[in-house]
Point group: D2
Chain length 341, copies 4
């Protein structure tokens, strides 16, 4: 394999994180996220989103974040609405159902949920013989790499508030979203348009860690119990504290995501010229293309890519992903390679 565009977690982390880990390694700290680094990181995040009343918690991965958040919000008979491409609906091994809750999935065009999608789901849930949808789940960027516009998010959030629904945003790649050229929101804007969301560290230069941000007071109580019960309260929480305090100093978080997006756009532009058609608009660090299996086979011998979905006997949906550490030279070589494919 020449180089991997398989995903955005193929490399370690940003150097600042390792350096700080090394520098602070001998310090004695409280366990379970009550260390000074976690406190610093929480303050930096609150400052960044300009919401000092929000609660911030760190957990180690996205599935963990989603299952803890969702199961903390819903009563046993309540359900979550998601795009059918949603991570919770497809890629979490039934983690949400394992906590007892139905995911009401709905077909979308490009991974982005609309008010009409939600209304369609709601229309026929009207008695105790059915689950009661109570939470809307969206991802930004979506699982197809698309990005919500401010007007879109506003309309969803307003609809939720009007209909007594909560809104949770899966921000596993929220760095990529806010630095997308299609984006028109700050992280603070997003934070103001949802009840809860999480900021993905793993896929944007952290060693590990996702920062759960709870804005709605109703959802804050005893949240650490949920984290602990699901086995997610890391004894050495300091690691995640260090990751996030480094990422949220000096705009490092945005810089890393920006680089990742730039590399992706460069590849996408080249592919467009070569006549490739994208499965979804390339708005962030993921590129989705349907290819015939022969090309896929050849390509994946030389470069790390992901086969996302089997479309039919002859074609597959593949994913090319760039990361905070993607080397531009390698991108250039890849483009050269594609020209000769």
């Amino acid at each position: 394999m020449i180089y991997s565009f398989k995903n955005d977690y193929s490399e370690g982390c940003h150097e600042n994180i390792i350096n700080t880990l090394a520098k602070t390694n001998n310090m004695q700290e409280y366990g379970y996220g009550e260390d000074s680094f976690c406190y610093e990181a929480k303050e930096l995040i609150k400052k960044k989103i300009n919401k000092y009343d929000s609660d911030v918690h760190f957990v180690s991965g996205g599935t963990q974040a989603n299952l803890i958040i969702i199961s903390s919000i819903l009563r046993p008979y309540e359900a979550v609405i998601s795009a059918d491409t949603g991570h919770i609906n497809v890629n979490e091994t039934g983690a949400i159902e394992a906590t007892g809750h139905k995911v009401c999935s709905v077909k979308t065009n490009n991974g982005k949920l609309t008010i009409d999608n939600i209304k369609n789901v709601l229309r026929n849930y009207n008695s105790e013989h059915m689950v009661k949808p109570k939470l809307v789940y969206i991802s930004n960027t979506t699982e197809l790499g698309t990005v919500y516009k401010k007007a879109e998010l506003e309309s969803i959030y307003n609809f939720c508030k009007d209909n007594n629904l909560y809104l949770h945003i899966d921000g596993a790649r929220i760095g990529s979203a806010i630095t997308s050229k299609y984006n028109d929101m700050t992280l603070s804007d997003i934070a103001n348009l949802c009840d809860v969301f999480y900021i993905g560290g793993t896929k944007n230069g952290a060693l590990l860690g996702e920062a759960i941000v709870i804005n709605n007071d109703n959802l804050k109580e005893n949240f650490r119990y949920y984290i602990k019960q699901r086995g997610a309260l890391l004894a050495k929480g300091r690691i995640m504290g260090i990751c996030f305090s480094e990422l949220f100093k000096n705009n490092l978080f945005e810089e890393l995501a920006l680089h990742s997006n730039k590399m992706s756009y460069k590849i996408a532009d080249a592919m467009k010229k070569l006549g490739y058609k994208f499965y979804a608009e390339v708005e962030s660090n993921q590129i989705f293309i349907v290819m015939n299996n022969k090309t896929v086979e050849k390509l994946s011998k030389d470069y790390g890519i992901t086969i996302q979905q089997i479309i039919d006997e002859n074609n597959s949906l593949i994913r090319i992903t760039t990361s905070f550490k993607t080397i531009e030279e390698k991108v250039d070589e890849f483009i050269e390679y594609l020209n000769n494919l």
Copy 2:
């Protein structure tokens, strides 16, 4: 309201059941389904399906039967495949998910699942990041009143065996299925074409009760633990024993279902003549029609019907259901009424 065609559980039960309840009321029996009536009923059912090695258990309702069966079969990461109209997917308040399992739903034409439907589901479940479908769930009659042909069921069951899947048949209305004029199977045929199924009593003349029949030896062990843990082990199990022993003496079970189907066909024939178009072929005791809301409103003032689904702002899917006790005179009156609607 003149008369109710709302469902098949509006009336009590067949007289034989009340008479036997009265006659045996003072007898002392063991509790929790170990009474002589349950034993008798189990033997009658095994004889009827000609499968003396099957295990039979009684529980009080269909949702209970489904959730106990399904959660007893699946490992935590395994899932069940169902038509999107399936009772477990729509009408059980997330009961299956509440036991921890995803329902992988798939769109069908008429409520009947095909091999292609199942293949479509299976195709993209191929790693530990997704649930593992392990069980196929079908209903006969389906939730749209349609009935499986023997060839259809055979092909599904063979596919399941070839692909290491189990097959469970929800027989809440299995009496109506085996006495449908479209049917070409005996109850014994059905029993030989699945790993587990249940025979619905509630909707065919019992006071309450569904008979779970487990054919596959792998699924039999400690089944009573599952029943008890879900709160379904009735102390006076004798009631269900009496219901099923009466229903399975002298073909009463078939007679009652046959009557119900006959009444439904009579209504359907009349409606056809009046130009009504059916949402699904009328093959059993349920009739589904899309009507404009004005007609629905008028109709439902005079007769008990069910509004099954809101189609759009102006139209609803309604259901007319006949039962083991539906009075033919009332059917005739209803037809007269429809002629003048």
Copy 3:
């Protein structure tokens, strides 16, 4: 076997119930507990407890009632406190844990929980590393047949209110409790000293059914969703409506329990004279005695009794139970038999 004192659900039901079932059998009623009998029964119960704001729901058994009530009250990290002899702790196949909640059990003298017991449990649950006890569960009569005094219940309920805990009373044998000669409470008194309780029908002359009574407004919302999700919403809910409306007309409920207690006391008095020592005071329709296994073996050949617990290699705890239908002559014969044992 000459006669069974195995339990209080060996016989059918009170004749009035069968008669009303027969008389009303052809009436068309709404399903799922929205029938006229359920409404009548609910009104009779509210009148009896003189609490017209309480919500009443019927389910088919005690384990079902407990698991639905408890899982409807607790958040995922919350737990229920119970005597170690409590039905939920021993005899429900982990039904409560299957809904995700720990039962914090505590040793008691006679099956009755005290404030000190509760305090002992609470003392060390003080961080997110432990469950948070939120609900106290008691049974009246207890699983050892003992009965709470009003002062005892008051002190527990007041403690609960002061400590932000809910109180649930398992009334599987509450008929036997309120007609015990040791009792100093009415059903209405009990209803005023708890947040939720259930009135056992199964063990006091009903064909089946337990009436859940929710007094605390916080616990009422969407309760039917919980019932349905656990498979406990009986399609022909009318059966339980009829059982409870018959039991709560003309004090039948108390009369039946009174008879059962009387029969038990008669046996207990005779045994006392014969020198038997009781494992717990005989306050209701259950008698507990430790016997050597030889006697147990002989006795259980001739009479139906329950072996409750294996004490050690040579001794077992047995239970003798009377019912609403226990025949006094048979009791006299049994006493005669014991005299000659």
Copy 4:
């Protein structure tokens, strides 16, 4: 605070780990534990325990390891037996119950389970009205710091095999166990005396991570599905791969634990001379002492200690813990401090 003896995860990790993280940071690796470091670490562990057929998986914490292991083994109605002091019974916020399973707890003298303890639990679980104990859980070191002898472990494991039970060993502090002066087993001995266990990294010098080792073939299938479903499949699994490959090179794992134990013994010896009585024999890196609250208050102002349990109004059980990084000078100062307390 002069110095903390609060726990064994107050400091970062061993330097080798940070160095390797830094050195390998830019390497592209597969995600989700399929990286070269995880493979290397797995081989080192298998070599160390001399069991090349065992499966090894890494997860980020002890509660996570326990809940994944236990819920992967048990059928819904099965239960796990544990000492009442067991981590799963006390300190995991009901994580095991949250997966649906009862923990059958039993009082022990010193945190160590015996065959008699297990027999006592088993004796009365004999029907479908009760859970079915299927798994025995022990910790080594125990939650009281005590250590199993080989003969003890052999007798438990043999009993389990004879009684169709599985045995799981919680090895959160297994490093401390195998380097205890009271220990007579190698890690390989332990691995041969259980069906599954985990090796604690977090509390012995890793940044994070516990290595689950599955010896019994019955328990291996699809284990990664369980890990993923519980949100425990770390995207950058390489971190744990690096932690464990460093710890299992050149006996570092034992060296670190040995140091921790030595520091603990030094403190314990000094305290013994001062007349302190230990709550449990000091066999590893934890010291438990009941102290009056006044001393506790003073002590905890100057040194980090843990208040483990409130004994009564005047006394508490405290814990003093040493770690792989505990500085001997600070231990000497602490002893001096105690002499003057």
